[in-house]
Structures are given as structure tokens and as C-alpha cells.
């Protein structure tokens, strides 16, 4: 029995989400093989071979995967599952925009269900996953021969180093020719990634403008070495780019400390951050629902409180 973990990577290195996915894989029993589908991805494959618990790294390296298109990546995964003659019992990927984009294609073409965004492994065929914006947790059992699963990365620790898996080169599938990447606009930031940050400072509509958002929150985030996040309202209003959004339909985070500033605490926002270890809310409205999940609540005007906080830490 082999658990196939689909690596998320940028060819040069593995994304942290891959390491959390390996930990989920380890809970299933069986060998763990990591599949790296990329273009000039030798360094990422090398990194995968050093992850503790990984017994084999499979690499499909071709220009065909330069865009990381869902069509081509899924086709490669299917080729690997097909060639395994039934020995692959599970296909796992992180529940990031990469995994969510690719894995349902694999499930559909294998004619199996996908189990989305698991937060716990009960057994090799039974998983726990949040539904209704995390307001309920469902335990589901799969009757399919291959389990195709995406993994909520915040629910599993990152696997460590110490492995020395063999790396095996595969032949790459042909280009589907259906899709072409025209360009990417990636947000550049010297700050930690939202998904991996220990501290997150998050701003909502209460910030009032993009200028305020940056002027007020950045000095605090700088002092704390924190990542910056936002509510949907702040993103919709154009204060910050889309990849800052925390919530049911944005990023799921679980840092040591989450500071919600000028965020009311709608269920869709809470869905993305309520597993944080410590939550602090700063809001001028004492009735704001965010205070119901906050460990420490401060009723204050954020424009006074946040600069004071930045000065005090």
C-alpha cells in the first residue's frame, strides 16, 4: 500500500504545505511516495527526498508542467496511479489553491469521490472534515478503492527532515494543449507567509482605507515579525490584494497569535482563524461577534490602540 503525496513546490523548493500533507499521509499507514511534477524541479525533488518518513520520490520533469496547469498535472498523477497497478491506495495534496485546483480532476477521472480538506485521519478510509464554514465537523467513510484527499495544512504538523528517499525519474505525459498561462502577479512581501506565520495581524473594514491599513498595521507587524491578513471586506474594498483574505473562502490560518483589528467577526471570517492559539480583538463596538471568540478583547478605537500597541511590544 502506497500513499502518494502530490508536492506543491516552485521547482527550487517545496512549499511548506507539502510537509503538513506528508504528516497526514503518515497517519494512514503504508509507504509514502512524493510526486514532484515540475520543470527543472531537481532541487524540489531533492528536498522531498530529505523529508522524514518519505520512502520514495517520483519526479516528472518537463516543460509541459511549466504553467502547473490543472489539466497536465492531473494527467501526470493519473498516469502514476495507473502505472502502480493498484498499489496506490491514497492520493493526498494540500488543500491550497494548487491542490483544490488539481485533485478533483484526478478523483473524477478515477471515478472516486474526493474528500476535501480533512482535519483528522480516523483510519485508512475514515476522515474528519469541516462543513458549513467549520460550524460542524463531519466524519466520513469512503467506499472507493483509491482515496483522493486534500489536507487542511493547519491541522497537521510539518514533517521534519532526516529522510533519504530514492529519487526516480518518470516520463512526462503529453501537453493537453487546452490551457496557457499568460502571466502571474504574485504579491511580493518580505513578511512570513500567512499559512506559516506564528503571528498574524489582520485588518478589516474598520481600517477605512488601504493607506490606513498599511500606515497603522505595518509598524505593528514589523515589530512582531508578523504576517498581514485581512477580512473579505478589506480585500473587496481594495485595501489589500486577494491573497491576504482569511476565511471560509480565503486562507485558513492557525497561528500562535491572531490579532483581529477592525474586524466584526462574521462566521465566514471566523472559519479561517478560530483555530488560532490566542486571538486578540480590537474593535470599537463592544457587541462585535469577534469578542465571542477572542481570548483578549479590547474595546477601543484602533487608530489609537494599534500605534500604542506597536510602541509597547
Amino acid at each position: 500500500m502506497t500513499v502518494l503525496v502530490i508536492a506543491e513546490h516552485d521547482n527550487a523548493s517545496l512549499k511548506g504545505a507539502t510537509l503538513n500533507t506528508v504528516t497526514a499521509a503518515a497517519k494512514l499507514g503504508g509507504d509514502i511516495a512524493v510526486l514532484v511534477v515540475g520543470t527543472g524541479a531537481g532541487a524540489a525533488a531533492e528536498a522531498a527526498s530529505r523529508v522524514a518518513g518519505v520512502s520514495k520520490v517520483l519526479v516528472a520533469d518537463s516543460a509541459v508542467f511549466a504553467d502547473q496547469s490543472a489539466e497536465n498535472v492531473a494527467a501526470q498523477i493519473l498516469a502514476v496511479v495507473g502505472a502502480s497497478a493498484g498499489s496506490i491506495s491514497h492520493v493526498l495534496a494540500p488543500a491550497t489553491t494548487f491542490g483544490k485546483n488539481v485533485l478533483p480532476r484526478v478523483a473524477a477521472l478515477l471515478d472516486v469521490a474526493q474528500i476535501s480538506e480533512i482535519v483528522a485521519v480516523e483510519s485508512a478510509d475514515t476522515f474528519v472534515r469541516p462543513i458549513y464554514a467549520g460550524n460542524a465537523l463531519a466524519t466520513v467513510k469512503s467506499a472507493d478503492p483509491v482515496k483522493v484527499v486534500t489536507v487542511r495544512t493547519t491541522a497537521f504538523e510539518a514533517a521534519g527532515e532526516g529522510g533519504s528517499a530514492a529519487v526516480e525519474q518518470l516520463s512526462a505525459v503529453a501537453d493537453s494543449g487546452l490551457s496557457k498561462l499568460l502571466g502571474r502577479e504574485l504579491t511580493k512581501s518580505a513578511r512570513p507567509e500567512l499559512g506559516a506565520a506564528k503571528i498574524i495581524v489582520s485588518g478589516g473594514r474598520g481600517m477605512g482605507s488601504g493607506e490606513n491599513y498599511h500606515a497603522v498595521l505595518e509598524p505593528l507587524a514589523d515589530k512582531l515579525g508578523a504576517a498581514l491578513g485581512a477580512s473579505r471586506a478589506a480585500v473587496d474594498a481594495g485595501y489589500v490584494p486577494n491573497d491576504y483574505q482569511v476565511g471560509q473562502t480565503g486562507k485558513i490560518v492557525a497561528p500562535q497569535l491572531y490579532l483581529a483589528v477592525g474586524i466584526s467577526g462574521a462566521i465566514q471570517h471566523l472559519a479561517g482563524m478560530k483555530d488560532s492559539k490566542v486571538i486578540v480583538a480590537i474593535n470599537k463596538d463592544p457587541e462585535a461577534p469577534i469578542f465571542q471568540v477572542a481570548d483578549y478583547g479590547l474595546v477601543a478605537d484602533l487608530f489609537e490602540a494599534v500605534p500604542q500597541l506597536a510602541a509597547a511590544v
Binding site: 478523483a107 469521490a113 466524519t139 502571474r184 504574485l186
Partner: protein, 249 residues
Amino acid sequence: MKILVPVKRVVDYNVKVRVKSDGTGVDIANVKMSMNPFDEIAVEEAVRLKEAGVATEVVAVSCGVGACQETLRTAMAIGADRGILVETDAELQPLAVAKLLKALCDKEQPQVVICGKQAIDDDANQTGQMLSALMGWPQATFASKVAVSAGKATVTREIDGGLETLEIALPAVVTTDLRLNEPRYATLPNIMKAKKKPLETVKPADLGVDVAPRLTTLKVVEPPKRSAGVMVADVTQLVDKLKNEAKVL
């Protein structure tokens, strides 16, 4: 050019659902139901493409119980031309819905299918991708901008690191993210007009699709509750608590 838009009837996004005490599911009796918000965005996008002269017909499809007719009427009030209900009382999982939609795509031959990226009840985020794979079509998920022209679509997608823009050949599946558009409110005259638009009902068996679920829900529980926190008087007290009590600074 025809656009197909699948729409799902879900618990309204303002409702905080409660888990049933017997652990079999969430209580949706007497709860307000609405169109999945992402699907509303999908309908709006399709209708705008029609208004722009790119599309000629917008067909809304819903799979589920008889009451999904209301969801289809809502789609038609926004501007969809007709509705198809695939009626069943069976539990439908994303793979089954994708197969039903495939059968309808084979019949209706749309050039674009616009789906919501996820439904806010099961939060699965699968159906559009599955449909695209079953059809052998390209996909552009999590769209925040869509332009359609002669045989292709240019779609800007919201991804973890920012944005990316794809060019995909048609026919194709697009799934919507929140910032694609702001759906209009259906006006009363349009709600009235929608009541007269054609609505066809078919059964999964008519489409030759086996919708048997692959996943069995063993139990549904409430997530662990966060214990109530404390209110602090000022920033000094907050910093003290974070340093000495929570020890996170």
C-alpha cells in the same frame, strides 16, 4: 453561444447552523434556504455575457429536491433564460452532480459552464473541476475576471500567492470567486417574468447517471468551543496578558 450555470440550494449564508443532537447532521428544518452565493455570482457573470452580446442563451441547472425550483426561478429572475431541474431526493455528492452536469452538457452543448467555486454547505470545492475533467475540457477555477471571445476565454484566477491569468480554449468550465462581480438584486418585474420562463424537470435515471453516494457520513459533531476570553481595559493590560499569561510575545 450557450452558457450553462449550475445553481445549488443551500442554507442561507447568514444562518449559523446547529448540529443535531443525535449527531446525524445539521438541522436544516425551518431554516432559510438561498442560492449558493458563488452560484449567484456565476449567474450574474453569464447574464452579463449575454447582455454584452457574447452569449445568446443562459441555462440554469439545479440538482436536488423539488424546492430547487425556487433556486432556478431566482436564477431566471437575475436573467437566465430557462431552467433545468434534475430532481431527486437522494443525497447528491459532487461526483454525482458532475456526472449529471456532464450528461446535460452532452445534450445542451454549451460553450462555457460557469460554476461557483464551492458550495457553502459542504465546502467541497470540487464540482466544476470534476465536470471539466469528465468533459475533457480545460478549466479556470477561482475566477476574478472573465473575458470570452472567439473560441477562447481569458480568465484571471485568485491563487494563494496572488493572481494568474490563463487563456483556455472553449468549451470550458470556469468557477467563480467572490470578486468576479456583484450580483444584481432581482427586481419585482423580473421575478414575475421569471415565473413564466420554461423550467424542465428530469430525473437522474433519465440521464443515465448513477448518483449513489461514495462517502458515508458516520457522524456530525460541533467543533470544540473556544472558552470565553476576557476583556482588557487598555493596551498596557493587553501587552501584560500576552507576555505573562498567554506567553505569545
